[in-house]
Amino acid sequence: MRRSARTLLLLPMIALGWTVPAPAEERPIIEIHPGKEQAFRVAVQVFRDDLRPPDPKRSAALLKAVEEGLDYNGVLLPLAREAFLGPQTTTELAGSRRFDCGDWTQSGANALVEGVIDGGGGEVEVSYRVWDTARCARLKRGTLVRPANELHKLGAALSDQIVEAFTGTRGVADTEIAFISTRLGYREVFVIDADGRNARAATRSPSVKILPDWLPDAGGILYTTYLKSGMPDVFVTSRGRARAGRILRDVLDDYPKYRGVFSPSGDELALVATVGEASDIFRVSRSGKKVKRLTNNGAVIDVAPTWSPDGQQIAFVSDRSGAPQIYVMDREGGDARRITFQSNYSATPAWSPDGRWIAYGVRTQGEFDLYLTDPSGDVNVPLVVHRRNDEHPSWSPDGRKVVFSSDRRGRHDLYVIDVNSQRLQRLTSAARSNTTPAWGPFSDR
């Protein structure tokens, strides 16, 4: 009887279409592959200027510097001001939340930068916030201080911070490049801002200087000069804690020292000197107390060392095969292996900061081009190919760009190429020769 009653109760439910819900069907995975957009768009507000005395041009000049820095870095590009749906000017720095992110995403901005200018005592201080408009979250906040007459460098430094907020790697608009120029008559060490501004001499003496290289803390520049005796030796020009002048006086004192290159840690140098029949590479502690000979091949020339970013390997040029080619050895001088085979002349290797590439020069038909190879030598791709000479590559510290010298305009000038976009920019235009650039490290000056 009870069973019959249950059946009777169920019948109307079945008739009216009641069913047990089916389990959810498996859903497709939506695969997304890269589109065309390769640069973030950033809306940079006009910063509120609280600095006294007031200067109506200050905010505009800083904004221009930030946008030029962003353009130079190439990772985030400034959003046109006509596209702004949010306020053009910072009124107050937002705290940890915003309420107008929708306006900015609809403007097409991936990022928003707001800031306030303040300072005093001849210095300008900028407090800034970088916002991710899609998440409506603050990515970065900070304060930058520069002398009042370095407003452009302040803007460049801020653009580098914005790039870091979005990619994890700081931009290089506020870095420097050392090079050798004859614009004062002698071959002097010069320094120029990474965007080509503000070239100035770092040495000034009546002797030839060659092959500049930075100290890892950006506090000085190592270079080679020829003494009165005619023997080359290694010097430092300093703006930081490093003592300026001749270094490694007691190391291989009776032999010509052609070049020094600091290891990434700054504790050691790879030193090129001629002790026997030809030049060899030595590893020397910064104090000069420890010296280890890494190559020793009789009349074979071994020069142009460049350290791997972890300091465990050194790439260099050797003619042990009969012609100059690039080789890689470990830090003890062992396991040397040739990695270039493209032509009968390869030179000036430069190891990238991320360790993935070695840029180098290849001479074909009497002119040098620039190529990239991986440290194993398995991959070899052109970087700069031109009918004139392109030489002496040096990586930016973010690994996105390479500076080199080229005589494509008749005299040697410095050029920067963006490795990914291949965008080329000339840095120097002085009437004299500008060669052998060395890109300086990040600096927190």
Binding site: P12, L16, I29, G35, N110, T167
Partner: protein
């Protein structure tokens, strides 16, 4: 107890008559219910076009450029397609039973469309390029999650073969295009083999609920952040076939 007291106060004839009326009422109910249950249903609505999907074969990966890339492996022998599952149509809301029911012949059901043909047609409608055919993995009677993520083509579902209706396939392609347009990929994020899986909670209208969740990080935190940013920046998405959690895979190929 109260009911027994109430029945005990009545005459025996009344009790008999009451019992008869009870049975009569019950019989009438049974007849009515049987009539409802056995009545033919009203004319079915037009059936959506159904796609047969063979999950064994994956959609092609875009060709990789560069001298170091290996040539694609030759296609293995074709694998027998699993029998497609029956499509379960959504239940209709209950309706009153019509007195006179005509049963028109059901509309001609279109032939099932092959997955690749349907996707090519959809891409054509959406103005996208049809990629070149790809090699199918062999012996993939059962596909693991990892293999699925690596080889599942856009629009495919489940493991071991399943079906995907055309509306879902259309939505998948539209969503791919929509999100891709918002995914900013600086070159430095590429050529590193990065891939991230993100779960997104969608409303029925395509709104994104909360922040997408990275369920399988790429190893590059800024790459992962950028995938989440792409979803949020592209909201609202095209209205999905159903609200709830959808899985997105961001990779360079």
């Amino acid at each position: 107890m109260v009911a027994n007291e109430w029945l005990a106060g009545h005459h025996a004839d009344d009790q008999r008559r009451f019992t008869q009326l009870l049975w009569a009422s019950l019989g009438a109910h049974v007849v009515l219910l049987l009539g409802l249950a056995l009545a033919p249903s009203p004319a079915p609505p037009p059936l959506p076009e159904v796609l047969r999907v063979d999950l064994v074969a994956g959609l092609p990966a875009p060709p990789r450029a560069g001298p170091s890339k290996p040539a694609p492996a030759p296609a293995p022998a074709p694998v027998a397609k699993p029998r497609p599952k029956q499509v379960v149509l959504p239940k209709e809301a209950p309706r009153a039973v019509p007195k006179k029911r005509k049963t028109p012949p059901p509309p001609a059901r279109p032939e099932p469309v092959e997955y690749e043909d349907a996707m090519a047609q959809l891409r054509n409608e959406l103005g996208e390029q049809t990629p070149a055919p790809a090699a199918a993995p062999s012996g993939a009677s059962e596909v693991s999650d990892e293999e699925l993520m690596a080889t599942t083509a856009p629009g495919q579902t489940g493991t071991g073969g399943s079906t995907l209706d055309k509306d879902t396939a259309r939505w998948v392609i539209a969503t791919q295009r929509h999100v891709r347009n918002s995914w900013v990929t600086p070159p430095e994020f590429l050529n590193r083999g990065l891939a991230t899986i993100v779960e997104v909670e969608l409303t029925a209208l395509g709104g994104v609920v909360g922040t997408p969740r990275v369920v399988r990080p790429s190893g590059g935190p800024f790459f992962d952040d950028n995938a989440v940013r792409a979803v949020l920046h592209s909201a609202p998405l095209p209205a999905p076939p159903a609200s709830g959690t959808w899985t997105f895979s961001f990779s360079e190929d």
